[in-house]
């Protein structure tokens, strides 16, 4: 299981990293095409929007892996151990419930997106699939590291994942 998890994490990091670098080149190529060759890449803006969606939701799985979601935790950190455990348990239960509902309704909604995008003509079902896919991974990560989520010790146990402060 650990090998599988590491492979999933590595694949996500590779995928989202490549997406970010590719989107930098795409937006520059679009600007250059417009000014230098009078030929902008007409599908660039549409694709960049989808790339951002994929980057954000798959990136959220990395954030979940080490419990890095933004929260106001100064008060909760002062709670006595058992209370904190209960509160963290409630937070994890809420996360699982919300994730489950998101996955359930996503499958229902995606069934209706049978069309293609307007300019790039990519199947919208494929683009929308990132949300259920990400939340399946997210729920899997929460289940795998349940004890860490409950004790707030995730960042101490996985130094490999970057953990920075948000802007």
């Amino acid at each position: 299981m650990e090998i599988l998890t590491r492979s999933v994490l590595r694949t996500i990091r590779l995928f989202v990293g490549v997406l970010l670098i590719a989107s930098v080149f795409l937006i520059c190529a679009n600007a250059a095409g417009r000014y230098l060759f009078l030929a902008p890449i007409i599908w660039a803006e549409e694709i960049l929007g989808y790339v951002l969606v994929w980057t954000v939701y798959l990136g959220a799985a990395l954030v979940t892996w080490d419990g890095g979601h933004l929260r106001m935790d100064l008060l909760s950190k002062t709670m006595p151990g058992p209370v904190r455990l209960i509160v963290n348990g409630l937070a994890v239960a809420s996360f699982l419930a919300v994730g489950g509902i998101i996955i359930y309704q996503s499958f229902e909604a995606i069934g209706e997106f049978t069309h293609q995008s307007q300019v790039a003509e990519v199947p919208m079902q494929l683009m929308h699939a990132v949300i259920p896919l990400s939340f399946i991974i997210i729920l899997g990560f929460i289940a795998l590291r349940l004890r860490g989520h409950l004790n707030d010790t995730l960042s101490e146990t996985d130094p490999e994942t970057p953990r920075e402060n948000a802007p």
Binding site: I27, S76, V98, Q105, N165, P167
Partner: protein, 424 residues
């Protein structure tokens, strides 16, 4: 409804639930049990809100800022600012403000600025006789200027949430950002004079020429970003993308301070930060959409109109609310949740939405270093090992200065709007 969308989120926030989960829990409960709306609205809002061309600038500016910090570009910018201000009393502290302003014109991220500039200047500030509480308070508050000086991630989020032009917001943010930096500079000068602090350096033209030469590539970054946007060559999103490519080329090929493995590490870190912030966009958009469907903004507009108070009272109340929220909530969440609700209220009071965007940005930036929960406080504490007992008192003068500046930004709309009229 008020319990689910008002009281419950506050309780969960205090308990320390992730903000994304709080917004989703409240929205899902409202959708399932209170409102007669399809559940599939979750998918549409979560996808549609992030699939936004304006928001693409967020990862790009985070990425560009991270490359600058790791690739030796920020170090050269600090050396350049120091060479200009070297002869003035309080030059090191003034350099801190100046460097945060210049770095803010590249990255738009407040904590990243504290880390990048503070890492270089905090030890020197202490060495030259600045007390710990002043130096730490200065760094935490100066870093917040980066959130106001364009390009600003807070402004991009406001532009997306309130459907306003990001370019206009960037133009409107220039003078307020410089004004706050100037006011802080004046305070620092008189503080250094009263304390008898002398750094001992003097202005040296040869040093300025040397640092300008060494930092010329670094100085090109703000020129590309701001020049490109203000001259209408690029959209803010394109400028951010071009800044990333420029920073990669300068850091890896010109300065050679960033290796390819280092670049990869910065890339993954940037995605991580982007996901941390933008996952909230999906949840906050759903949350504010439900509030709109429930008629909350409209009710607020009617209530405020019925009070028959003038615009300045509305702004005073909103400022107090935003300062309070900014103390406990991160800027992204505060803007994404409140901007769609407050925009109709300020519009009804006759306040320009671009001007309001700047007011909101300044408010949440002050929240970044306001006790007890300002993010810059914890970055400063963690990086420089300053105890909160020293850091909190050190922040007080800077909070007062920034509040006075906020008053000027709020009640002098032309400070924000004059450039929009000229360049917009």
């Amino acid at each position: 409804m008020i319990w689910v969308m008002g009281v419950l989120p506050i309780i969960l926030l205090i308990l320390g639930f992730p903000i994304f989960v709080i917004l989703m829990v409240s929205s899902v409960i409202a959708l399932v049990w209170i409102m007669d709306l399809p559940l599939t609205m979750i998918q549409t809002e979560m996808f549609g809100s992030v699939d936004n061309y304006k928001l693409i600038a967020v990862p790009f500016f985070i990425f560009a800022g991270a490359i600058m910090a790791q690739g030796g570009i920020s170090r050269r910018l600090v050396e350049w600012v120091l060479s200009i201000l070297g002869g003035i009393r309080g030059s090191l502290a003034l350099t801190t403000v100046g460097a945060c302003t210049v770095f803010g014109a590249i990255s738009g991220s407040s904590p990243a600025t504290v880390a990048a500039v503070g890492g270089m200047l905090f030890p020197s500030l202490r060495e030259k006789g600045y007390p710990e509480k002043f130096a730490s308070g200065l760094l935490a508050s100066s870093g917040a200027i980066a959130g106001i000086i364009p390009p600003s991630i807070a402004m991009i989020l406001y532009g997306a949430a309130a459907e306003e032009s990001v370019r206009h917001l960037f133009i409107a943010g220039i003078l307020p950002g410089l004004f706050i930096a100037f006011v802080m500079g004046v305070y620092i000068y008189f503080y250094a004079r009263r304390r008898g602090i002398r750094e001992g350096g003097s202005f040296d033209a040869a040093t300025l020429v040397r640092t300008t030469k060494s930092g010329s590539w670094a100085l090109g970054t703000p020129l590309i970003i701001l020049g490109g946007i203000y001259l209408g060559v690029f959209s803010p999103t394109e400028a951010a993308g071009v800044a990333c490519l420029y920073a990669i080329l300068v850091a890896t090929l010109v300065y050679r301070d960033l290796t390819l493995p280092g670049l990869w590490k910065v890339t993954v870190e940037s995605v991580y930060l982007t996901a941390q912030v933008l996952i909230i966009v999906g949840a906050a958009t759903l949350f504010s959409r439900l509030l709109t469907v429930a008629g909350v903004p409209q009710t607020m507009v009617e209530w405020i109109t019925s009070l028959e108070v003038s615009a300045w009272v509305v702004l005073l109340v909103i400022n107090l609310l935003l300062l309070l929220v900014g103390c406990v909530l991160d800027p992204a969440s505060a803007i994404l949740v409140l901007a769609p609700i407050l925009k109709p209220v300020v519009a009804a009071a006759g306040i320009d939405p671009v001007h309001f965007g700047i007011i909101m940005t300044v408010n949440v930036s002050i929240g970044m270093f306001t006790p007890p929960f300002g993010l810059n406080i914890f970055v400063t504490q963690a990086l420089f090992r300053v105890p909160l007992s020293s850091l909190y008192p050190g922040l007080v003068p800077f909070i007062i200065i920034n509040l006075l500046a906020l008053g000027v930004v709020t009640y002098w709309p032309d400070l924000s709007l004059v450039l929009v009229r000229l360049l917009g």
